[in-house]
Symmetry: C2
Subunit: 225 residues, 2 copies
C-alpha cells in the first residue's frame, strides 16, 4: 500500500517519521484557579497543535509523571515508571514508521527522566529529544496560559482565593517549606510570588503559548533537516 506522504498540510514527506508525545502530570494541586491535570493538558495542547501545524504524528500522552522527593504537592510516580511508559509508546510508534520522538514536557519534576533518553535511543535505535516548557508553579505564567487554553477558573474571587498561600501552599511553592529549603531556585521563585502575588495576564498567556508552540514547531523542522 503506497501511502500519500505529501498529502495534506505537512512540511514534507519526512515529517511522518516524527512522533510527538505530551508529558506532564495528572494528579498535582495547582491552587484554586487551575485543575490538578494542568501540566498534561498544557503539554497535550502544545503537542497536538504543533503536530497539526507540521504534519508530525501526535502519539498521545505519558500517563505517569515523576517529581523531586522534597516537592510534595501531588501524587507522582518513580522515574522508572515514566521511562517504562515511554518505552511502550516508542515501541508502538516505531510500528507506524516513527524514527524520531519529541517529548513535550510541561512538568518540572519530569526533568528527572532526561537521563533515560539515551537508553531509549540505544535500545530502539531511534532519536529522542525532550523540550521542557515549565513555569513557576501555578503562578502568573501558568495561570495565564491555562486561561488561554481553557482550563482555568479565573474569576476575581477565585484568583483572590488562589493568592491565599496559607490555604494553597503549592502556589508559587510559597508554602512548600521542604522544597524551598532543598532547592534555591524554588526558594527564589517563591519569594517573587509571595511579594507580587499571582495575576491573570491574557496577553502574556497568549504570548507564552504561541512561543511554546513555535519552539516545538522549530524543533520538528530541525529534526527533519
Amino acid at each position: 500500500m503506497q501511502l500519500r506522504l505529501s498529502s495534506g498540510n505537512v512540511l514534507n514527506e519526512k515529517v511522518h517519521k516524527v512522533g510527538i508525545i505530551a508529558l506532564g502530570s495528572f494528579l498535582e494541586n495547582h491552587g484554586a484557579v487551575l485543575p490538578i491535570d494542568t501540566d498534561i493538558k498544557i503539554a497535550s495542547y502544545i503537542a497536538l497543535k504543533a503536530s497539526i501545524l507540521t504534519g508530525a504524528k501526535f502519539l498521545g500522552v505519558v500517563i505517569p509523571s515523576t517529581e523531586y522527593e522534597y516537592v510534595k504537592h501531588g501524587i507522582h510516580n518513580k522515574p522508572e515508571e515514566v521511562y517504562s511508559y515511554m518505552r511502550f509508546l516508542i515501541n508502538e510508534g516505531k510500528k507506524i514508521g516513527v524514527e524520531k520522538f519529541l517529548i513535550v514536557n510541561c512538568h518540572g519534576g519530569n526533568i528527572l527522566v532526561e537521563s533515560f533518553l539515551k537508553d531509549l535511543e540505544y535500545e530502539f535505535d531511534i532519536k529522542v529529544e525532550m523540550i521542557n516548557i515549565t513555569f513557576t508553579h501555578a503562578s502568573t505564567e501558568e495561570v495565564s496560559v491555562g486561561y488561554i487554553i481553557g482550563i482555568a477558573k479565573a474569576d476575581e474571587e477565585t484568583l483572590k482565593e488562589h493568592n491565599n498561600f496559607e490555604k494553597y501552599p503549592e502556589v508559587g511553592m510559597v508554602g512548600l517549606k521542604e522544597a524551598r529549603e532543598n532547592n534555591k531556585a524554588i526558594d527564589k521563585e517563591a519569594k517573587v510570588v509571595k511579594r507580587f502575588g499571582v495575576k491573570l495576564d491574557k496577553k502574556l498567556g497568549e504570548k507564552i503559548l504561541n512561543n511554546a508552540i513555535e519552539k516545538v514547531v522549530e524543533k520538528i523542522k530541525e529534526m527533519i533537516r
Copy 2:
C-alpha cells in the same frame, strides 16, 4: 495527599473519574487535500477539546487501528491489536483514578472493536463507551472539518486534484471497487460523491466540529450524572 478536585474549569469533582481516549487511524490515504493521519488528528482534537471544556482526563490516543478486509486504502491492524492497546490505556488510566472511559472514534473501520468493549468492562470493572464521529471518506465533510482543524491543504488546485477519482480512488471510495461491491452503504455514498464531487465548506466544517465536541461533552456530563 488531598487533591483539589474542584479547582479549575471542571464540571464537578466526579469528572476526574472520566478518561477520554482518541481513536482513529495513522496510515490511511485521504486523497490530496488531507494527510494520512487525518482520522486520529480529528479524534485527538475533539477528545482534547472536550477534556478541556469539562475537566475530564485526556489519556491520549490508541495507535493501532483496524478496517474491514474489503476496504483497501491504508495500513491497518487486526481488531485484537486495537483491543490490546485499549487494555494498556485502561490499566494505566485506572492507576490515576479513572473509572469511566470514553473513546472518541473517527475512523469507520474501528467499529469492528465495539464487540470488545464489554470484555474491557468486565475485565477491569470499569465503564467504557465509544462515540463514533465518522464521515464519508475524504469527502466534503471530512475535508471541511480537516480545514477548520488545520490539517488540510485546501487550495483550489489541490482540491481539483483531490476530485480526480482515477488518481485518488479512496476519495468517497469512488474507485474502491471491492469495498463498493461488499458494502451497500459505501456504494451509496460513492455514487453521491461521484455525482457532486468534493468541496470545501468552511461553515459546514465548523458546524460539524462544534456539534461533535458538544456531543462528547454531553456524553461526559451523562457519564457523571
